[in-house]
Amino acid sequence: MNRAALFVLADGRFPAGGHAHSGGAEPAVAAGRITDAASLERFCRGRLHTAGLVAAGLAAAAADGHDPLALDAAADARTPAPALRTTARKLGRQMMRAARATWPSAALDDLAAARPHGAHQPVVLGLAARAAGLTPLDAAHAAAYEAVSGPATAVVRLLSLDPFDATAVLARLAPDQDRTAAAAVAATRRIPAEGLDALPAASAPLLDITAEQHAAWPVRLFAS
């Protein structure tokens, strides 16, 4: 157990491709749903309790040692939008590269061999956390933080939003992130009795719809 590794893994500068993605913030800005810090906070809270919770559950379960290929299938089942599946696997492949170089592990090598074009990113994130000696709760925290920090960073670029305001949004969401990570771990504990169906399956239909639309934009700043 090495808590400092969590900072390495959750750092926005961890070279796993996240910087090119807005987590659905770009279409939300274009549609006028995010215009300022208050609307960014509402967007992030919604994403945290849906996509963020699902990601945190998958990451916690992977960090807990559950079968990553079964978790990858569970992630597919929880990701109905093809554009978001593509994005999750692309980011999973990039996370895999960075994680294998950072925390070499046979478990990461095995998943990379089984999914050469990428497993779902939260699964890889959880396995990376495990390789780094972190706990399922740490992995859930990393996934939850990523669910809100990505959009916040993107909106600073998209709206020229004051970066202090964007960071304050992330700080105000900290209690929600704690609750999300705790709920993810609680769900993971039910897996032995209930199987992977115990993992959260919250959905955000608007994020799904706008992700498909955004993927078809001819000109965009972010990949997703």
Binding site: R13, P15, A16, G17, G18, H19, A20, H21, S22, K90, R93, Q94, R97, A98, R100, A101, P104, A106, D109, A154, R157, W217, P218, V219, R220, L221, F222, A223
Partner: protein
């Protein structure tokens, strides 16, 4: 020594995560990777297009673009039909090409590997950065050599100002020399300042709009490729 051997047994392929190794997992030599960076509008994409036309009959090559907006440069290359579509890949950079070519190269490495897998074996991959600023440079984990492209219309004081791109690139290209008389630029001054900043590293002056304008850059690329293919792989 002992420790390394233990790691090798546990993680036999760990050296392939990045560009540092000159070979593919199967032991054959991978393609030489050359990055092209420089400020907006200096002729990077035009240089890539001209290089493709000059070299495509003698080499197996592919291009990765890093756009500020999605696919703009890739689509220019497709329209110009300098290479078949399966040899051009566009990396989306989230408005920050310099991040994608230097700080977080994961998407670019994947694009390079996918090109080698689908269109390979390749001799040369050109990795183009979207127009950025004077500090933009490529990671050594991504490319083997880099070209920095500036032009005379940016002002003849650019070489004097320096910056990592100007001073450290393996080749500095000063493009649009045909415009020098119209923008009041003294090419001799630019050459002197560049030499002061770069020492022995080469500087080439080009006018891509003229017939054979890219030839000096193509010749430099051929030399790099010869060095690359004759170097030992172990």
């Amino acid at each position: 020594m002992h420790r390394d051997h233990a790691l090798d047994a546990t993680f036999p392929h760990r050296h392939t995560y990045s560009a540092a190794a000159p070979t593919r997992p199967d032991g054959t030599r991978r393609a030489l990777r050359i990055g092209l960076g420089g400020p907006v509008g200096t002729g990077k994409t035009a240089t890539v297009a001209a290089l493709c036309r000059a070299l495509r009959d003698e080499l197996s090559l592919a291009v990765v673009t890093n756009d500020i907006y999605t696919r703009e440069d890739a689509e220019f290359l497709l329209r110009e039909a300098v290479l078949p579509p399966d040899r051009i890949a566009a990396v989306e950079t989230g408005a920050c090409p310099h991040t994608a070519i230097r700080d977080d190269i994961s998407a670019n490495l994947e694009a390079v590997e996918d090109l080698e897998e689908h269109a390979g074996p390749l001799d040369l991959i050109l990795v183009e950065s979207g127009g950025d600023n004077l500090t933009a440079t490529f990671s050594k984990g991504l490319v083997d050599a880099q070209i920095f492209v500036i032009d005379v219309s940016g002002g003849d004081d650019i070489p004097r100002k320096g910056g990592p791109g100007i001073t450290t690139a393996d080749l500095l290209v000063v493009n649009k020399t045909d415009l020098a008389p119209y923008v009041g630029v003294d090419l001799d001054t630019m050459a002197r300042d560049a030499e002061a900043q770069r020492g022995p590293r080469p500087v080439l002056f080009t006018s891509l709009t003229s017939e054979g304008g890219v030839k000096p850059v193509a010749d430099w690329t051929r030399e790099r490729l010869t060095t690359w293919t004759t170097a030992p792989t172990t």
